[in-house]
Symmetry: C2
Amino acid sequence: MIDKLIDRIQKTGAPIVVGLDPTMKFVPDHIKKTAFAEKGETLEGAAEAIWLFNKAIIDSTYDLIPAVKPQIAMYEQFGIPGLVTFKKTIDYCKEKGLVVIGDIKRGDIGSTSAAYAAGHLGKTQVGDSLCSGFDEDFVTVNPYLGSDGVQPFIDVCREEKKGIFILVKTSNPSSGEFQDRILQTGVQAGAAGNDAGGITFSDRPLYEVVGEKVAEWGEQLVGKKGYSYIGAVVGATYPEQGKILRRVMRKAFILVPGYGTQGGTGKDLVHFFDENRLGAIVNSSRGIIAAYQNEKYSKFGSLGFADAARQAVVDMITDIDQALAGTGR
Amino acid sequence: MIDKLIDRIQKTGAPIVVGLDPTMKFVPDHIKKTAFAEKGETLEGAAEAIWLFNKAIIDSTYDLIPAVKPQIAMYEQFGIPGLVTFKKTIDYCKEKGLVVIGDIKRGDIGSTSAAYAAGHLGKTQVGDSLCSGFDEDFVTVNPYLGSDGVQPFIDVCREEKKGIFILVKTSNPSSGEFQDRILQTGVQAGAAGNDAGGITFSDRPLYEVVGEKVAEWGEQLVGKKGYSYIGAVVGATYPEQGKILRRVMRKAFILVPGYGTQGGTGKDLVHFFDENRLGAIVNSSRGIIAAYQNEKYSKFGSLGFADAARQAVVDMITDIDQALAGTGR
């Protein structure tokens, strides 16, 4: 699946992913009206509104982009009906040929992670049948529980030729509270050191140690194009850390959230990429799906929300292209 | 809700929670047969089997226990039908007067955590209506993203008088890989130090720093019985760490997984409790719901699985009672 993702990135020339993270305030009134008329101001009505919204955004952008990243929380907030829309969105995106990254940030003890991995990437045994739960192509994984919480995802990736992105350095303002803590010299030191950014083997922040584990976990599952099935999440809002992590995890594809509304810009992103413009895929959610609410795209109006999203995709591709060109890539 | 939980613990004399973490291999054949006959060897069939299994376990144990802890991964693995059973299980347990701890281990950037918090503990706005998604009483939360990923859960706890348990030191074998790393002297040092267990302010493991944040986050939401709405998860498999953390987080109720099948015993648990036998609630999942598969309870047979679960609950209460009595509590 990492090879398919890279292939689509090369064909579209767009190392970007559209975050399908809808909230009711992004959904235009005319869509809410239609959905509520049919299903009421209920969880079912909200789920229907979000489905109609997603479908229009997908129809308007799928030919420009390699992948989408639905954030499951935005569906889970509407309970079962919301999750039905999450599943419909996955299936529809796959029909359109898109790679689907389920942003689920799951992670638990071994046997429980195995259930998540089966439900989202693999298959679950029911009697003599094998059944698929959600069937994304990639999911995001939280590493706080350590190797035995990550391994079941890796096992399913091997079996199903799918992939994961492990949280290393997240895009949010307080991500440093634990992730940036400097670990004491020599205490349970990891396998490989590095000297990037003036940081030596003996004093590395937690995110770097997690990055080293990502590199280690990914070593055995490298695809045909040189990148591993096991990738990482590193926020666009932390370009310096991205530069270090790009060197620590040479074979890890980096999923980069935080572009646009969260503050990351094209020039912040260049160090996440390798010399062939690969190695990273940049997510934008609100900046694309709610573009029509942005002054810059106001001419589209709320009826033109899907066209505004398309224009925002085009502009994002240009922004990243220019930033990479500026570094000779 | 923390007050209700404590009240129920005192009334039942049972500081325990039954983990409703069913897998198909725990479900007796006669139940699978009934469910598959009706719905086939499908996700729907599996979800029906698990619902019938859960209902029998709940009916057989609810009068002895204060709370249940369904692990959402075990339902999510069966996709939408599995999550329908998760929701039915929550609703049924609440009808029976049980406190429901959703073991969801969610955690994300602020706006996304807000969606999880609304979906699992609070309400989501749909038009002019407020709708509940899953409506558990407590959920578990992953702290890797820091304060802004936890705060939305705290906000909803305040509003809805509900609670969370934050992962501090998990029960699994590799939990130490990141959680036990010793942080360097004085780097972004937390608010409060402590000298428990010979560890000084200047060299503390990550789990202790997370524990200090739990204490800090919980300070403003303390219930009538002296414990905070904001609790912690600390594995029974790490009693020494439990002893330290009990002192670091004096007002945090501790949810203790890892008893039984994972290796924790009654005597490992005593330091998690305060002098009034409060402050901790111990989870057992497989040890109770799959007791009939254990040699010790084999006389019940698979038809008597629910009675075996009841006997395992009685035995667990006795084990913890004796361990606490042995320390004069």
